[in-house]
Every structure is written in C-alpha cells, then in structure tokens.
C-alpha cells in the first residue's frame, strides 16, 4: 500500500500538473514564497504576480488572502486564477478581479461574509509594477531565512525601530552589529510585510540606503 506522499512530492506533482494543465496558454507561471502566508503560491500570469506583490503581500492593510472558491467563480464569471479573496486588518472582505471583466455585482457573498468586489485594471497593475518587482528582491531575503529563527534579530530590531522611528536601513545595521546583513534584511522585510514598518522602494531596490518608517501597528 503506498504511503502518504511527502510534502515535496506533493508540491512537485502540483507544479507539474499546474504547468501541464495550462496547455498552450500564453502566460507565465510563477512560484513564489509568500511571507504573509508563510507558504508557496502559484501565480498564473505576470498580472497575478504584480497584483500579489502590490495589492496583497506588501499591502499592510491586508491580513490574509486565498484563491477564490468555485462557487464564486461561477457567480462572478471569472477564471479562478484571476481572482483572490482577501481579508483586511479591519476584518472586511474584498474580492479582487485581476484585469478581469466588469462584474455586474459590487458585493458578493463569500460564505464567510459579504465581500466588496473590486476590479484591478491593467493600468493599475502597470502603475504598480516597477515598485512591486523591487519587492521580489526584498522577499528573496525573507525567503533565504524562511526556515531560520529570526526571533533574536527581531528582539533587537524592534527596539531599534522604536528608538529611531525612521531613517535609513544602514542605521539599523549599525544598531545590530552582531547579526549578518542578510538576516537583518530578512527580519526587516518580514516586519514590513506584517505592517510594523514601512519600507520605501520607490527609487531603488532594498539596500542600505533605503528609507524606512515605523508604523503604529505591531508585528504579529
């Protein structure tokens, strides 16, 4: 009797199945690590990638997100790959349709409560894409430390954030001399994604010269 498939083998099967089931679809398939959800996510197009980066992962007001259910797919008349249901910090639900059509409804019942329907247009995605892609590098730091315990770094990082309130990333590195740069960046990115600090990537990718600002909400 075959044993229970291991997590890697299930993921392999999932990736293979997902890729093969696409047939000749003309879009990219992305596999990314979500810090917010602490899990791997498959995204079915470049638009979904930018949407995930700009509107879900790095938006501190988003508490969590998941793919749309089959029932909602039928209700909204969109593909499952192009829609996401998300929960805001204030527990409000929202359904995002990524560059999809114009649904006739503005609110939809999701099973756990009513959700506002919002269409993310291609223009919105284009406007956010440059900064969103810079987050890939930042999330890469968090991905490196995915299986590491960052508590010691966070224990020193949070007081440093509290004390300075804003500044450059290099200042934080000075405050944490005993830690490796990659580890401090990973902790900072996690804090930023969870909403306790705001990272400014508008002019360049994450580096010592990047600006940060403390936010009032605490890291969970």
């Amino acid at each position: 009797m075959p044993g229970t498939p291991t997590l890697p083998s299930r993921q392999r099967a999932r990736v293979l199945d997902t890729y093969r089931s696409r047939g000749h679809r003309n879009s990219n398939l992305w596999l990314v690590y979500s810090v917010k959800q602490n899990q791997d996510i498959l995204l079915h197009s470049d638009r979904s990638l930018v949407h995930w980066l700009a509107f879900l992962e790095t938006d501190p007001s988003v508490r969590g997100f998941r793919p749309i259910t089959d029932e909602l797919v039928a209700k909204l008349g969109v593909g499952p790959a192009g829609a996401t249901i998300l929960e805001r910090q204030d527990r409000q639900l929202e359904v995002h349709l990524v560059a999809g059509g114009r649904p006739e409804v503005t609110t939809v019942e999701t099973g756990v409560g009513p959700a506002k329907v919002r269409v993310i247009t291609a223009d919105e995605l284009q406007a956010h894409s440059r900064i969103a892609l810079r987050w890939l590098k930042a999330i890469g730091y968090a991905g490196l430390s995915r299986f590491s315990d960052l508590t010691p770094v966070l224990n020193q990082l949070i007081p440093s954030l509290e004390r300075r309130w804003s500044g450059k990333v290099a200042d934080l590195l000075e405050d944490l001399p005993g830690f490796d740069l990659a580890t401090v960046y990973a902790a900072l990115v996690k804090a930023a994604i969870h909403g306790s600090v705001e990272l400014d990537l508008t002019s360049h990718g994450l580096c010592g010269a990047s600006s940060w600002k403390r936010k009032l909400t605490q890291a969970r």
Binding site: P8, S9, Q11, R12, V15, L16, Y19, R22, G23, H24, R25, N26, S27, N28, L29, W30, L31, V32, Y33, D46, R47, L49, V50, L125, Q126, S129, R130, L133, R134, L136, K137, I139, G140, Y141, A142, G143, L144, S145, R146, F147, D180, L181, A182, T183, S203, H204, G205, C207, G208, A209
Partner: protein
C-alpha cells in the same frame, strides 16, 4: 444631408483627431489640404458656413459631406480625422457600379472591381472565402493547413458554379478565371487580420514573434542587475571528439555524443553569469542545479588556454571573477522554459529554498519570454559552433556540414579545446558593448550599479553559509546490524554501506531511523542526524566507494550494471575505474575502434566528475588471454570422457561487493 448639430453630435474633439504631415505634398495639394483642414476646424467651431467659404475657399455645400468623411471610421479603428482632408484620398473600398462588359479572352482591360461586384451579389461567398482564408472554416470542412490561394480559388469557382454562374459570366470568361483577384483578396484578408491569421496559419516561431513589438510596454521590467536571470539549455550544434590513447600507444580521436550547454544570463545586463557543458545527450535536473550553484557560489577564473593565439579579451570574463563583490550574488527571479528538468522539485524546491528566488516557467514555445539567453545561444552558435567543420547546423536542411561526424574526427575537433573557445567567447560576450545598454558592456552595466552603493547592493546569503547548504537532499535510513552475528551498525544508501566509529559502536540505534543529509554530487559520505535532530557526524561509504568522488547518478549507473551482472565490483576495486573500464571496452563496429560515442561521452563525464584529466581517454589494458580449459582425457578404446568438465554452476562468477 443633416444639420451641423447632427453631424457634430457626439463627435471626437477636433484636437484629438488623427493629424497629417503635409511636408511631402506638392504646393497645389498642400494648399488644398490646408484649406479643407481649416474649413473643418471652423466648421466644428460653429463658424457660419458662408464665412468658412469666404476664408478657405471650400464650398459651403461640401462642408457637411467633408465633415462626415472626417468622422468616418478608418481601418485602424480610429476616425479618419484630418486624413480625410487629403485631396484625392480614397477612404472607402472601391466598389464597381458598372455592369461587366464582354471582353475577349486574354484582354486585361475593363475588369476592375469584378470580384467586388460578384461578392456584393453573393455576400455569403465572401463570408465563406474569408473563413477559409483565415483558417476559420473548421466547422464547415476538414481544416486544411495553410490554405493556398489556388485552393481558395478552386473553392471560389465551386461556389460560383453552385450559385448558377454560367460560363459566359466573369470569371469564367477570363484566361485565369479570376485567380489573380482571389490571390489579392486572400492577401488583403490575411493582412487585415494579422494577429488572428498568424496564430491560425503560421508556425510556432511566428506565433512567438507575434507577442513582441506590439508597442505596449511589458508589464515586468527588471531595472537592476541580478533582478532576474534566464536559464536555458542548448544542444551544441557541432560534433566533437576526445583524444583516445590506444593500447598500442597511439593517439586517435573518438567522437562524442552531442553535448549540451546550459547558461545563466542576467536579464538586465545580458551578462552570462555561469555556464556548464553537459556531457550527456539530455539535460537533467542535476545539471540545472549545478549551474545554479555555480552562478550562486562559484568564482570564475580564466582557463589555461592551450590553443595558440587564443586569449581572453582585456577585462573580459564572468562577473563572479572580474567584478569585486559579485561573487556569491543572488538573483530575485529565475526564468525557465517548460522543460521537464526545470520543473523538477530539485530546482523549484531545493534551489529555491536555498537561494530564496522566485521561479517562473514561461509558456510552451514562447522563447521570446527569455530573450537574453536565447540571443546569447544564437550568438555563440553563429560565432563558434556553426563555424566548426563538424557543425550540424540548425537542422539537416540548414547549415549542416557534409559528413560532419567524420570531419570531427578528421580535424580533431576536441571538446576540451572547444570548451576553451566557449569560455573565451562568453568572456568576450560580457565585454562587448551593447546598444541596448547605451553602448556599455554587460560587465560595465553591472559595475555601474556596484559603484553606486547608495542605490544598489547585491543580495547574498548570510556570511559563513556553506556553498552546499540548502542544495542537499534529506532522506531517512534505518540503522541495520546484528549483535548476535557481530555485524556492527550501519546504514545503506543506494546499495552501499555507510558507518562511522560512533555509529559502529552504537548498537542501541539498530532498527531506528536516521535523518541523512546527502550531497548527491559527492556520495563518499553522508551526514547523519538522530531522530531528535542531534548530529551523529559524517558516515563514510564502505570500501573504495568512500575514496573516489562520484555522484548519485553514477552510483545508480554502476549499480544497474552490477544488477545486470555486466560488471563485478569487489571491496578492493575502485568502482569508478571498473565502470570506466567497462565503458571503454564497449567497442564500435570496427574491432580496432575505441568506445562508442555514448560510452566515450560517459567516460569524459565520469572523469570530470571525479576531477581527473578529461582531455583524453586511455584504452583499458589488454585482457590476459583466458586460461585454456583442462585437457580432456578421453578413453580412446571406449570413446568416453574420463575427466569430467566442472558443471556450469561452478563456473559462474557471482557478483561480490
């Protein structure tokens, strides 16, 4: 006619109308165009028509007609705008109104618009022809691949016959029966439906090209080095050889199988970050992992060049070797195609977890999604492989050298030397200015960012992280052993026993599971952990398996041969040597020939794997002549055998480990 309000109602503001450049018009035409344009500006500003005629000379009665003409939709989906004011410009399709007169066969006059006239008479025929031309007639008939104009013409004539068009009517009265008109009709239909017809009729390369050059900027733009890299494999378009030392002490050349090249190319700068030549006809996940590891941890160093006059360009090389700080730099996204090796869990789980990048798999047959790596391969093929006398070209019909396999041996196109050429070619590629980088070289483009620490720094792994960390395979194994039989504890991985002094004296671990950290590139030892996570140290492979470096793939290949009883490995034999000796004895058709290409390629791969000199292959030492069987003693008187031959069972050689 209608009033001006009716004409102008809901029209596009005149400032947004498509404009016209009249620099190339002659004076008369320009004057007429400007007058009409001005008239339209005034007309849409509600200036009295009398005043417009006075100021521009355009008749007030023609103004509403001209205005409607300006607001008519053009072929590009926009309104005609000021384009409609161009004198003598036809904005609509030519439509013949006159009846077709009888013209003697062979005469070419008086037939203008004949096809349009007949299609106007039978609109369903036009619809049908359009569907056939656009390959949309799948539901009407068995779809024909790339319908030719002459085939469409045949369908056209059949439709006309069905409609009752007689031999005295066009096109039956003409020499070619309307073939030229149908050819033109088909060309116009295909051109007018450019994207649709390309998708329906053309090959995958054309379909891929269709996605680029749309004038719409890409959603994803990577604007810093190491933001994304493209990884792909390329089958080298040339035959190569390896030197073979014969038992007689001579040197000859053996042809290798077709080799593969894998490259990692930076998306922003087009710099080649790492590459590897794969001595196997197909690329697998191990090879992809190797090149990823090289790109992430390796440091490029120039080769010792043995080819006369071959030298590296000044300042050229791979970033990890020539740019300070680039060694160990990681990238944020990896762009693959859909090859099976790229979809393996070793790549998307282990490598991704180790290096923290996102993975992208492009759609099938869309090479344009990874333009840099594809262009680099194309460039290397043009400058190097396709110039070799043994080139295979892109296909048998395109660029293949005659008798390429023979020429590879004749001209001694050796893989080791081609690798040197390849290294120099990549170094040159990275040091060649590119128009796309404002005439900087890829290396200069990366240096530009490196020199600006206030806006860029490389992403790297935490200091002190071993190069292999994260790439290793984790699996479990049961500790075996038997106190009663005196067998000390050990574990078994791929049919080889592993132990160390600690495990060998830990009888209490027999029957428990250990967690193993396996480096599949070096199976001489594995790192073991107890179930509670405590480290047990490195366990060494038994016998010579623990001496010579070898990969898991090689181990499995050797095990397979042992199972088939094609080779025997004792405790005193080096498995690698036995394996290579076996491969070297797999001779080609001629008795004097060395190993076949497949075996020769495998020997070179093994030699590279164990870190030995892979520039030549040594023939195995001659096998000693078999000992002659004991003389048979026959009783000549009675004709019977007195000395019995040993039974077949006792002559069998059993595999020993």
């Amino acid at each position: 006619m209608g009033t001006r309000q009716e004409v102008i109602k809901d029209s596009l503001p005149i400032e947004l109308w498509p404009s016209v450049l009249d620099a190339e018009f002659d004076d008369e035409r320009r004057e007429q165009f400007r007058a009409q344009s001005e008239a339209m500006r005034l007309y849409f500003s509600f200036v009295p028509v009398g005043e417009i005629e006075q100021r521009t000379g355009v008749s007030q009665t023609s103004l509403p007609r001209l205005a409607r003409r300006c607001l008519r939709l053009a072929d590009d989906g926009r309104i005609q705008g000021f384009r409609a004011c161009i004198p003598y410009l036809r904005t609509g399709q030519y439509s013949r109104t006159a009846e077709l007169s009888h013209v003697p066969p062979g005469e070419r006059t008086g037939m203008a618009g004949a096809l349009g006239l007949i299609l106007k008479r039978f609109p369903d025929i036009e619809q049908l022809l359009g569907k056939y031309a656009k390959n949309e007639a799948k539901r009407l008939a068995v779809p024909e691949h790339k319908l030719r104009p002459c085939d469409l013409h045949r369908i056209f004539l059949r439709c006309l016959a069905d409609k009752g068009i007689g031999p005295t009517e066009w096109p039956f009265t003409t020499k070619y029966r309307g073939l030229r008109s149908i050819q033109q009709f088909m060309k116009e239909t295909l051109d007018r439906n450019f994207s649709r017809t390309t998708m329906a009729r053309e090959d995958s390369a054309a379909r891929a090209h269709l996605s680029v050059g749309t004038g719409i900027s890409s959603l994803l733009s990577f604007d810093e080095p190491y933001d994304a890299v493209e990884i792909d494999a390329y089958k080298i378009e040339a035959h190569m050889t390896v030197a073979f030392h014969t038992p007689e002490g001579l040197e000859t050349d053996l042809r290798l199988d077709r080799l593969n090249l894998i490259a990692v190319v930076d998306r922003f700068s087009s710099a080649v970050l790492a590459y590897t030549v794969v001595y196997r006809p197909e690329v697998n996940a191990d090879d992809i992992l190797k090149v990823i590891r090289d790109a992430a941890n390796g440091t490029w160093a120039p080769m010792d060049l043995t080819i006369p006059d071959l030298r590296y360009p000044k300042g050229g090389g791979l970033p990890s070797g020539v740019i300070e700080g680039a060694q160990g730099a990681l990238w944020s996204a990896t762009l693959f195609d859909g090859a099976l090796a790229h979809l393996s869990s070793a790549v998307h789980a282990r490598a991704r977890a180790a290096l923290g990048f996102a993975v992208n798999w492009g759609p099938v047959a869309h090479f344009e999604r990874r333009p840099n790596v594809e262009r680099t391969f194309n460039q290397i093929a043009r400058t190097l492989f396709k110039r070799l006398p043994s080139t295979t070209g892109a296909s048998p019909q395109s660029g293949r050298a005659d008798e390429a396999e023979r020429k590879a041996v004749e001209h001694r196109v050796r893989a080791a030397e081609v690798e040197q050429l390849l290294d120099v070619a990549f170094a040159q590629h990275n040091a060649t200015p590119s128009e796309g980088l404002s005439h900087l070289t890829p290396l200069e483009a990366i240096r530009y960012f490196v020199d600006c620490p206030e806006r860029f720094e490389f992403r790297k792994r935490p200091a002190g992280t071993p190069a292999e960390a994260g790439f290793k395979q984790y699996e479990s194994a049961v500790v075996r052993g038997d106190r009663k039989a005196g067998r000390r504890p050990y574990i078994q991985v791929d049919r080889v026993h592993y132990t160390n002094p600690v495990l060998a004296t830990s009888g209490h671990l027999i029957g428990t599971r250990l967690l193993l950290e396996v480096d599949e590139d070096d199976m001489r030892q594995v790192r073991a952990y107890l179930a509670n996570g405590a480290e047990l140290g490195f366990l060494k492979a038994h016998g010579k398996w623990g001496v010579t470096k070898h990969s898991r793939r090689t181990r499995k290949a050797i095990n397979s041969l042992i199972t088939k009883r094609l080779i025997t490995v004792t405790n005193f034999d080096d498995p690698m040597q036995v394996y290579m000796r076996h491969l070297a004895t797999q001779k080609g058709k001629r008795s004097s020939a060395g190993p076949r290409p497949k075996q020769a390629t495998e020997i070179v791969r093994i030699k590279k794997e164990v870190g030995a000199d892979a520039q030549s292959i040594q023939a195995p030492p001659p096998v000693p002549a078999p000992v002659s069987p004991p003389r048979r003693v026959v009783d000549e008187m009675r004709g019977r055998l007195l000395s019995e031959a040993p039974s077949e069972f006792f002559t069998k050689v059993k595999n020993r480990r």
